[in-house]
């Protein structure tokens, strides 16, 4: 089955094409087509994972753009542990989100369009993880970006949604540009874009510093944009304007994780550049802490989750940058499941109360007990409470960070504490106490409840795949990709104990402040540190700075360009026009209608030509 792994992205692509060319007239059919396509992809993905676990490795390359006497641009796919793992994550989460969407998006005007784009996204994301060269990765990379844009702007009649879609597209594009330059740069240096070939070159000394570091850091720029790492993190919170299942699939589980996946995929190159590793780890750790602080003050449940997502992606980057690629990927897998579950839970309660504002919720456990349980378990997992999945992967990353630099370790520990706090702040605000809004009971469709329960399973158990006391099968599975220092992370009891204590502490602090479901304790704390609170609540004014820069710089350049256009370009164009008109006005006098004048000009021309021909003849003998 691995030999034909291209079936995996092909199935949702067929669904997308079917919806685009006809089925969209029937929303119900569109929904089922997408679910069917993703189901096929999921089944095949599991088969492929089984084969990969049994040791099957495939690397197929097909000629795509053969340039005569020039470089060839092949397309191809590979099946290896990394790909097989990602296939499972993407297809499973996508399948559950599609099922959830049937209930969540019921009655939406753009229902068929929504499912069409979801199918297209799933295809692109699966293609991205299957692709075995950077060019193909880049193509799918842009496709997922496009789908993200389309789906954030699903409710495009809302100005905020349209604005957020544009912001997401433009900000990630900044990183994508770096990625593209990196691809071109690496190609110019090595003549190949096959990841395996680049890895071999990096290992054998065919690709050395500074080209190696420059190339991989440019690729990392793409990952920074896609994975909402500082300083390109600003788009992710706004992207929450999209439908919640979209946030769950694209902006929590898969697309934003593509940046982490890309760094894992290129890890055999990355690991040969200590500078790049340091940069990746530092950016990751800083983003993790930075975004976690913003999560503390947000009152929008989806934004809390978005900050958390960026923060956790920073964690993964930290793991990869610390050399523990397997730890980063392991956290990616676990995070995909529990974060998707958190988003689907958030969607469930938003569906109930019709607001994103945590301050208007409260007491929701009465109406949504299943959601309450699921969200609590997922939040515990995110907080790193054993034995849930988040604990195992977070511990691996912490262990790796501790081995690299104490500052990184400290940042990661603090982040863990803050994460536990803000997650349970959200949980308590939503579910504890009594209702502060106007929640009224209406039943939730089964299509929304079942995915929650289904996602609970990996949230609880997926951590055991990499559990040290089971011999870390996940680490062993990925072993051999890259030279693998730090791959087989050992269990550090002290690290685990400390992080668990901090996690529990965060939960308890949240309970102390918000456990009763009232807000005044939190407000009192906020009032005491008002200036700090303001800075964080305004997201460190990063957006303001960007807007100011965009406003001054971009508008300034635009003004210059406009002036240039109006004076120089228009001047030239109008000048040409004026010359034409003026010469026409002059020349029209020649067209007098006087035939004899025409004849005169004709004969004068004959004389001129004759003189020109004869003169050399006459003087030729003498000169």
């Amino acid at each position: 089955m691995s030999q034909v792994a291209w079936i995996i992205p092909a199935a949702p692509l067929v669904a997308f094409l079917a919806i685009a060319f006809g089925a969209r007239r029937s929303p119900v059919a569109s929904g089922w087509l997408t679910i069917l396509g993703v189901l096929v992809a999921t089944v095949v993905s599991f088969v492929v994972l089984g084969e990969a676990l049994a040791g099957v490795r495939v690397d197929q390359t097909y000629a795509w753009l053969p340039v005569p006497s020039g470089p060839a641009f092949p397309l191809g796919f590979q099946v290896d542990p990394l790909t097989a793992t990602m296939l499972i994550v993407v297809s499973t989460v996508s399948l559950l989100v599609q099922i959830y969407s049937v209930g969540y998006m019921h009655g939406d005007a753009g229902y068929a369009r929504y499912f069409g784009f979801m199918a297209l996204f799933t295809m692109s994301m699966l293609g991205l993880v299957l692709a075995n060269n950077l060019l193909a990765i880049y193509i799918f990379w842009e496709l997922v970006g496009l789908c993200s844009y389309l789906l954030i702007g699903h409710w495009h009649e809302r100005p905020e949604a349209a604005q957020a879609a544009k912001k997401a597209f433009i900000v990630t594009r900044l990183g994508d540009f770096g990625f593209l330059v990196g691809i071109v740069f690496l190609f110019a240096q090595t003549g190949t874009l096959q990841v395996s070939a680049l890895a071999n070159l990096a290992a054998s000394g065919g690709l050395v510093d500074p080209a190696l570091t420059v190339g991989i850091l440019l690729v990392f720029a793409g990952a920074v944009g896609k994975s909402a790492q500082f300083p390109l993190h600003v788009w992710l919170p706004d992207a929450m304007e999209g439908p919640t299942p979209v946030s769950a699939l694209i902006h929590a589980a898969t697309m934003v994780a593509a940046g982490v996946y890309l760094m894992a995929r290129t890890f055999p190159i990355l690991e040969h550049s200590p500078t790049a590793l340091t940069v990746v780890a530092t950016v990751g750790a800083f983003t993790a802490l930075f975004m976690a602080t913003m999560g503390l003050v947000s009152t929008d449940i989806k934004r809390v989750l978005a900050y958390s997502t960026a923060s956790q992606l920073g964690y993964m980057m930290l793991g990869i940058g610390a050399g523990a690629m397997a730890a980063g990927m392991f956290h990616l897998v676990n995070h995909a499941f529990f974060k998707a579950l958190l988003f689907l839970c958030a969607g469930s309660i938003i569906h109930l109360v019709n607001t994103n504002d945590l301050f208007e919720m409260g007491g929701l456990r009465r109406w949504r007990p299943v959601t309450f349980v699921a969200m609590t378990v997922a939040a515990l997992s995110l907080a790193g409470i054993p034995p849930l999945s988040g604990f195992w992967s977070k511990d691996e990353i912490l262990g790796a960070a501790a081995g690299v630099h104490p500052v990184l370790y400290l940042a990661a520990l603090v982040t863990g504490f803050l994460t536990a706090f803000y997650m349970f702040r959200a949980v308590f605000l939503a579910f504890a106490g009594t209702s502060r809004g106007d929640a009224h009971a209406h039943a939730e469709p089964a299509s929304m409840t079942i995915p929650l329960l289904a996602l609970l399973v990996p949230t609880v158990v997926s951590g055991f795949w990499g559990a040290p006391f089971l011999g870390n099968p996940f680490g062993a599975f990925l072993e051999g990709y890259g030279e693998g220092h730090g791959l087989a992370a050992t269990f550090h009891f002290d690290v685990a104990a400390l992080s668990t204590l901090l996690g529990v502490g965060g939960v308890l602090l949240a309970w102390a402040m918000y456990g009763g479901g009232n807000l005044h304790r939190g407000r009192a704390v906020a009032a005491r540190v008002r200036p700090l609170y303001e800075i964080v609540a305004n997201r460190y004014y990063v957006d303001h700075v960007y807007n100011w820069v965009a406003g001054r710089l971009v508008l300034g350049i635009a003004w210059l360009a406009s002036q240039f256009d109006q004076t120089v370009v228009d001047g030239v164009v109008n000048g040409i026009g004026t010359v034409g008109v003026a010469s026409g006005a002059t020349l029209r006098r020649v067209q007098s209608g006087q035939v004899q004048l025409y004849a005169w000009v004709l004969f004068a021309g004959v004389v001129a030509i004759a003189v020109a021909l004869v003169l050399p003849m006459l003087t030729g003998g003498r000169v």
Partner: protein, 111 residues
């Protein structure tokens, strides 16, 4: 026609050519200066006659062309006849439409 050339036979090739050129130039001057369209047609006939004289002169002096010059002159004459017929027809039509055959008043094409 004398069958043998007198020793002082003076009419060289150049003489005929200069006569042809002179007729052509005179005709051109007429075609460029006259106003009456029929007069212009006449001047053009003079130009064509200059050309014919040139052809016939060549036929007389260049060996190996087997009177080709004269035959060309006949074609010129044929074309001249056609030109005169069409020219006069056009002039008559113009006169009928505009009541004049003065070419400097037939300037409908003025730009």
């Amino acid at each position: 026609m004398p069958s043998e050339l007198p020793p002082l036979y003076p009419i060289g090739l150049q003489h005929g050519l200069v006569l042809g050129a002179a007729l052509f130039a005179v005709g051109m001057a007429g075609a460029l200066t006259k106003r009456n369209a029929i007069a212009i047609l006449m001047a053009i006939e003079v130009m064509l006659n200059g050309v014919m004289v040139t052809f016939v002169t060549f036929a007389r002096h260049i060996p190996g062309i087997d009177l080709g010059g004269q035959i060309f002159a006949m074609f010129v004459l044929t074309v001249a006849a056609a030109e005169a017929a069409v020219g006069v027809a056009i002039i008559i039509t113009v006169y009928r439409l505009r009541r004049t055959i003065s070419v400097d008043q037939a300037d409908t094409l003025r730009g």
